[in-house]
Symmetry: C3
Subunit: 255 residues, 3 copies
């Protein structure tokens, strides 16, 4: 016996598969060919007083089991979520957003195209994230500089930024294009384009082009060795971004 709650007011595209024990609320729009897993909650219940909060999920998206996505957000084509994901209201994301398992996007966030988050990533309210950004497991983007307080100073991460596992991005941080935080860094302040930061005091330790793997001769910026991972349509943008990051090397005296 099948068991799902799909609102008759939801607009479900062609060839959409919806799992068991999943609820689809009113005012949800799901594009063609999308797949929704088991035990998901998609959209928000209408409140008596409130306006409908439309949730748009682009075509070809995959939302895995135990995921909750609030109403009031819009995702471009090819959204992919892991399991146990939470995405709150007023999120705007471009094409190809990938959200790892247990990741929490806290609302009022803007994300560009092809952003990739691994698991347990916590994106604080109001964060602004560019295109082709990588957030690894357990990365946290905070927004209150003096917790607890009413001050909100979310982080800004420009195109091509990489934040490695366990790093904490402090309130008001601005990571310029292609900058890179190593594992466990407390990232703070203005991070120059293409800079690598490390440690509890967010020290700039060099330019990303100095990061390489001797065994495989792989070298950053990552746009040079990892563009194939993206669909063909994105690769020219990645190439141009990589050239720009590479050019920022000139500002690093020792390189």
């Amino acid at each position: 016996m099948s068991c799902r709650q799909i609102s008759p007011l939801a607009r479900i595209g062609a060839d959409v598969r919806i799992g068991e024990h999943t609820t689809i609320h009113d005012d949800v729009v799901i594009g063609d060919g999308a797949t929704i897993g088991d035990c998901c909650v998609i959209g928000s219940a209408r409140t008596r007083e409130g306006e409908p909060r439309i949730l748009e999920i682009g075509p070809g998206s995959t939302i895995r089991s135990h995921t909750a996505v609030y109403g009031g957000s819009r995702f471009g084509p090819g959204l992919q979520t892991g399991h146990h994901v939470l995405i709150r209201e007023n999120t705007r994301a471009g094409t190809g957003l990938r959200v790892g398992s247990y990741t929490d996007i806290e609302g009022d966030c803007a994300l560009g195209d092809y952003v990739s988050c691994h698991s347990y990533v916590h994106i604080g309210k109001g964060s602004r994230i560019g295109d082709f950004v990588w957030l690894y497991s357990q990365v946290t983007l905070t927004n209150d500089p003096l917790p607890p307080s009413f001050v909100e100073r979310p982080a800004v991460l420009e195109d091509g930024v990489v934040v490695c596992v366990g790093a904490i991005v402090m309130p008001g941080t601005h990571m310029n294009a292609g900058s890179y935080a190593t594992a466990g860094t407390l990232v703070q302040g203005e991070i120059p384009e293409g800079a690598v930061v490390a440690g509890r005091d967010s020290t700039v330790v060099g330019h990303v082009s100095r990061l390489f793997d001797l065994q495989t001769m792989t070298r950053h910026p990552w746009m040079r060795h990892y563009a194939e991972r993206y669909p063909a349509e994105a690769r020219e943008r990645i190439r141009l971004l990589g050239e720009r990051i590479q050019a920022s090397r000139a500002a690093f005296t020792k390189d």
Copy 2:
């Protein structure tokens, strides 16, 4: 078609809303006006031999989707959980507990009034937490000083304590009232009232009254700028706590 399992032995108050795909076990008592989200598991199945383990959830509580709360716990009015929360047995909490998404309260814990946990907080078994305590994302309270072992030495956090994002509270730590651990700190030992600790060696770096935000002229202790966030009934207690923490400044020679 609606689909929930609500035990006829559960005592559900007036005007309680219960989501889809949710199970309410025997021996659960839910106060008036509470809301339980989708895909929740509330209470524990009765075991053949065991005593019933009553779970009391106060009036006006909100439990969000994918949350599991074991039997044998008691929560005051206005409990709020995020999504994907886990609360195990023998937890006692006062009024207004807020538990962020993916937070895990491991059992045998005592929490005072108006405790706030953000997401991915892990509160080890047997922890004791006072009133008006703040635990930010990914904070962990451990209890085994020599893992793995049979030794259990849970942490104690007194009233008004703040533990910032990613800090680890080591076994046997005692944080006195209003003390404050900065992001990523390994907190250990006895932390004096109103002290700020930082770093891997849990160094006292000053008194909380030295924490301020120049742009907004906000200054700690937080009871001075953040009491409005709480219901009116709690504010006098917060004011008195703030005065006490402010007075502890005298013990910090350089302040």
Copy 3:
């Protein structure tokens, strides 16, 4: 009204209990006496083209609520998971694996007998873990040395290893038998048998036999004080492992 989806193609043993709102897919084999909680997703849907991906769960296992286990894995007897667990494809685990709540095993991993993971542990793709290993809360095993890249260099953890809360095991790390990473360590490189490592640079600070608790006179290696926690059948193996780790002390000059 009961509500679960159990494939008629699944092979369910005797005396197996299955929770509400749970899906059991085709090609799942569950041993006698196992318990599956509510809101779980066990196995994977058959794809049109793909081979069946058999999932074997040993007898006497307990899988708690909100857990997703992919097809294509095999677990020995006595698997225990917490809540909200995720285990992806091609995992091979021996007897008595314990997986804490919110833990994510990312696929293609091999785990020995009696491995214990606490909560929020992230085991990267392809990790290899021996017998009697302990991974505490928020431990992450990474595998990409130059993220993002196509290079994969998963970690190897030998028998009896302990990784304390919040430690990050960097790509390509090899922790030899009985080695021990303290809380928050960035573990990297080759860690000698019985060595204790600490800090952001993974410094060897001594031998595990130097770790002790004065109050209870408990002393590492843990095999000496904690074998009772395991079933009788495992204790002789633990004793022998403890002797081997203790013997490795000779290589540490200052001990």
